[in-house]
Amino acid sequence: MSARAASRLETLGFRQVYRYQPGKADWFAAGLPREGQEAHTPRVADIARREVPTCRIDERVDAVQNHMREGAWDVCVVVDEQRVVLGLVHAETLDVDPATPVEQVMQSSPVTFRPNLRVRQAPDYLKTQRTPRALVTTSDGFLVGLLRVEDVEGQRAHAGSQLPPGSGAAKTQPDSHIPTRFPRRFPPDSHPVSEWGTSGTRSGEVCHQTNGHLEGKPGSMSALRARATV
């Protein structure tokens, strides 16, 4: 569709025409701002636990245990120097030699959701994946946070006392300290998610880290049009 529109504009005399072929699905999946009637519908990025501990793939199990112990976490996310997710470590897999590299005990393809997945859709996705938690990552693989089923249920209960989503046109607004334009890649050791701001500022879709990108309800036609995302 954008190809035809671009071509039409060129026939009308426009000389600088560009096609953003991945479209708004790509934009929202990257957690970028959105505008419109559904802009303030709660998304998983709004409730993801951004303080989830992280570690590097070359760390040892005993170091990871320390990270997790600090916040009483039962998982630790393995990320690269740009905070792209490489895997997930579960507490129950750490009963090994303390010198064991994380790489040997991590789950290499954890379930991930896109930031703009609607919170009300999350329970079905978690159920489908048979997991009580999922990582929220951008379409570039950057870690946003950890989504837990109890947080989803808590948000949904809270939302019951709020105005229904989509009750009027709205525009998500990043906090004033949040850059509205993102760098192509976050610099090493940065924590982009923590700079992204607060509830309602970001968006996302659902995917599985290595299997493809899912849109819409599980099993829907759009979900079946899975695309590689990482």
């Binding site: 954008s2 426009f14 953003y20 934009w27 419109g36 009637q37 334009r181």
Partner: protein
């Protein structure tokens, strides 16, 4: 033929004054769109509707995804 642009290019171009156009139907645009995009549905795109655009500035068109 129009040049393809990625998300990062869109962000950069918007900062430099490019115009963003969603060519999906109005209902889809109203539901959710990229901030600052205007809506000219493909079905209505023509000489008249294109007048709201500045032909001297870059124009970026998009729809939902690779359709």
């Amino acid at each position: 033929m129009a040049t393809q642009i990625d998300r990062h290019g869109v962000q950069k171009s918007l900062g430099a004054g490019a115009q963003l156009v969603e060519v999906l139907p109005a209902k889809e645009y109203a539901t959710e769109h990229i901030p600052d995009a205007i809506n000219i549905p493909l079905k209505t795109l023509g000489r008249e509707t294109a007048r709201q655009l500045d032909s001297e500035r870059p124009v970026i068109v998009y729809c939902h995804d690779y359709q």
